[in-house]
């Protein structure tokens, strides 16, 4: 990206853009999570991609699929992020990124149903497990710090959180398949 002046869309379209971006934000975040695998990375890339989407919004045709259009921008921002800014060198190669991107674009249609199912699946967890899942999101210091706080071995906590996420994934899948039938 160079310092040349961007082609700015007309002011009359900014409300349209804001509406579309607001509605699509959760799906775009999930799309990026599928490519990057890390919540904070996905947030950072979406922030950058959002600025770029606005610059390029003049090329978006009203009435067409905004998520599909926006995910293309997100895809290239995710690749740029991995190339230059990723904290970890362990990221997916270009071939796998392309495969995940293609399939995820189709898979996103299940997103809303999964989110609805997640509420009831979280409610089914034991209260202590639900608190643990929430605590793992709040923990600034990561799993190690949370383990220290709870007086548990990091490896034990790590396995427990993996198990809880698998339980939730199974529950969400079960709910969405039941609704589909």
């Amino acid at each position: 990206m160079d310092a040349s002046p961007p082609t700015e869309p007309p002011h009359s379209r900014h409300e349209e853009f804001v509406t579309l971006l607001t509605a699509s934000h959760p799906k775009l975040l999930c799309y990026l999570l599928s490519l990057l695998g890390r919540w904070h990375d996905a947030q950072d890339v979406l922030q950058r991609a959002s600025a770029l989407m606005w610059q390029k919004f003049g090329t978006f045709q009203s009435g067409t699929d905004f998520v599909a259009w926006a995910s293309t921008v997100c895809f290239y921002e995710a690749k740029a992020f991995q190339r230059l800014a990723a904290r970890s060198p362990l990221h997916f190669d270009d071939e796998l990124l392309a495969l995940l991107s293609d399939e995820r674009a189709e898979d996103l249609k299940h997103h809303d149903a999964r989110m609805t199912a997640l509420d009831s699946c979280l409610a089914k967890l034991r209260e202590e497990d639900r608190h643990l899942v929430n605590a793992s999101c709040d923990a600034h210091g990561g799993i190690s710090a949370l383990a220290a706080q709870l007086g548990r071995a990091p490896a034990t906590l790590y396995n427990k959180l993996s198990q809880l996420r698998r339980i939730l994934a199974d529950c969400v899948t079960s709910h969405t398949m039941e609704e589909a039938t």
Binding site: P26, A51, D107, R114, I143
Partner: protein, 448 residues
């Protein structure tokens, strides 16, 4: 897929998210995702669940505490609705929509985060952390002052600096250097200089201005719009993104500027240009699209200075009970990128104006890279850097501070470098890897 295989997959998913995977585990995950459609479906379900949990957790905690001790606001979790609204708000800024209320009395309300030998004209008493200041006309005579505004914007101001706050979202910078970390609620924060305006579109940037109408902008992360007053620019703002720097003035318009001199000037010096020993800093990672830049702080090697360009928290400090080695005090500091610590083919080239003593600060637990052992000698002294994120508190050598966060010791290695180019290499290949820091002094000014 068997239950055991599924369990294994979720362990790999969790490890990837927590950045605790080994290279072998990562390869195993990649293989599974590439060759197994069911693994990919589970990956997507897992990410949806993760996203849903994170969003729900953020809604619960967002209004418990609006200001956290960590100032890296760009990492804050966002409520689901607020995240979408915030993303949308970014684009309203560029259209000139006033999104935040303006203080009716003018000026800005600020809280001190940290002060290092700071003298603020018109403000009596200690500039201790947490002190509330009403700032309108601003003159920082000495030192550095970090404040957080009511808008959530965090500013690092380096003396000598003069300017004026219109309100929480607008600062006119007449002269001096400012770094801004804008965060979630401060998008649209504007710094006005004689040469034009810099409007933030997200996160972290720095501005240096002088009274001759020259301004310099560097974007650490996110992006900013630069509106130059120079009529020959042809109108329209220019967007700078992460890693870019630009120089613009009333006379000469906008042009790229690869090095940003975050000058810590001595009182009385009026020069707007960095004239220190380092003429240029460049690495071999940039390309035509993005060019990382390196902040050079003149005489910046002091306790409390930020160690890395891309990490808002780790700062250099003496070991507990010790002092900064005298030979290091007043050295020019180069802020490296911690994110490049794993780049095996990384090269950083310094262009030096004169013979210099180059100091590399390298994590004491690290396996020494060959280039360091060949060119440098160990001074036997060290500093510590921190705090780092809590998730690495169990790494070898971690010193847990009073804030319960880890700090790490960095050994100081020294080399004599002739004028011209001097190249440093990759940080190393350890599993628990840190980037090194750099300090430089002219050889004839060094303390034996």
């Amino acid at each position: 897929m068997t239950p055991e295989q599924k369990n294994r997959l979720f362990i790999l998913f969790t490890g990837h998210a927590a950045e605790t995977q080994t290279a072998d585990e990562h390869a195993e995950l990649q293989h599974a995702l590439r060759h197994d459609a069911e693994a990919r479906r589970l990956w997507f379900v897992h990410q949806d669940v993760e996203s849903g949990i994170q969003s729900r957790s953020a809604v619960q905690t967002a209004f418990v505490s609006t200001k956290r001790a960590k100032v890296s606001a760009w990492r804050q979790r966002r409520p689901l609705a607020a995240a979408a609204a915030a993303a949308a708000a970014v684009f309203l800024i560029g259209l000139g929509v006033a999104f935040w209320s303006v203080s009716s009395s003018g000026g800005a309300v600020a809280r001190v985060v940290a002060a290092y030998d700071a003298r603020l004209v018109g403000v009596e008493g200690d500039l201790s952390a947490g002190r509330k200041l009403q700032l309108k006309r601003l003159r920082l005579e000495t030192g550095r002052l970090e404040v957080t505004l009511a808008s959530g914007v965090r500013l690092e101001m380096i003396a000598p600096l003069e300017g004026e706050f219109s309100h929480d979202m607008r600062l006119r910078l007449d002269s001096g250097s400012v770094n801004a970390d804008v965060g979630e609620h401060g998008k649209g924060f504007t710094i006005e200089t004689a040469a034009g305006e810099i409007v933030d579109l997200g996160t972290e940037f720095g501005v240096q201005a002088d009274r001759l109408g020259e301004s310099r902008v560097a974007v650490f992360s996110g992006s900013v719009e630069v509106h130059s007053r120079e009529p020959r620019m042809g109108g329209g703002p220019v967007t700078l993104t992460e890693g870019m720097a630009a120089r613009f003035s009333v006379q000469s318009g906008l042009r790229s500027w690869r090095e940003v001199a975050l000058a810590a000037r001595e009182a009385g010096l009026a020069s707007a240009h960095y004239t220190g020993i380092v003429e240029r800093v460049r690495d071999n990672l940039g390309d035509d699209e993005l060019q990382p830049f390196y902040g050079v702080v003149r005489r910046g090697m002091d306790p409390g200075m930020l160690a890395f360009t891309d990490k808002p928290n780790p700062r250099w400090a003496p070991r507990p009970g010790d002092k900064v080695p005298s030979f290091l005090l007043g050295a020019d500091l180069i802020r490296t990128y911690h994110q490049f610590r794993y780049r095996k083919a990384y090269e950083l080239t310094l262009s030096l104006r004169e013979t210099a003593e180059v100091y590399v600060l390298i994590n004491a637990q690290s396996q020494l890279p060959e280039w360091l052992a060949e060119k440098f000698t160990n001074t036997g002294e060290s500093l510590i850097a921190g705090p780092f994120q809590g998730s690495i508190a169990d790494w070898p050598g971690a010193i847990i501070g009073a804030d319960s966060l880890p700090y790490f010791e960095f050994a100081i290695w020294k080399a004599n470098a002739p004028p011209g180019e001097f190249t440093l290499g990759a940080a190393g290949s350890a599993e628990n890897q840190f980037m090194y820091g750099i300090a430089i002094k002219p050889k004839n000014h060094s303390t034996p």
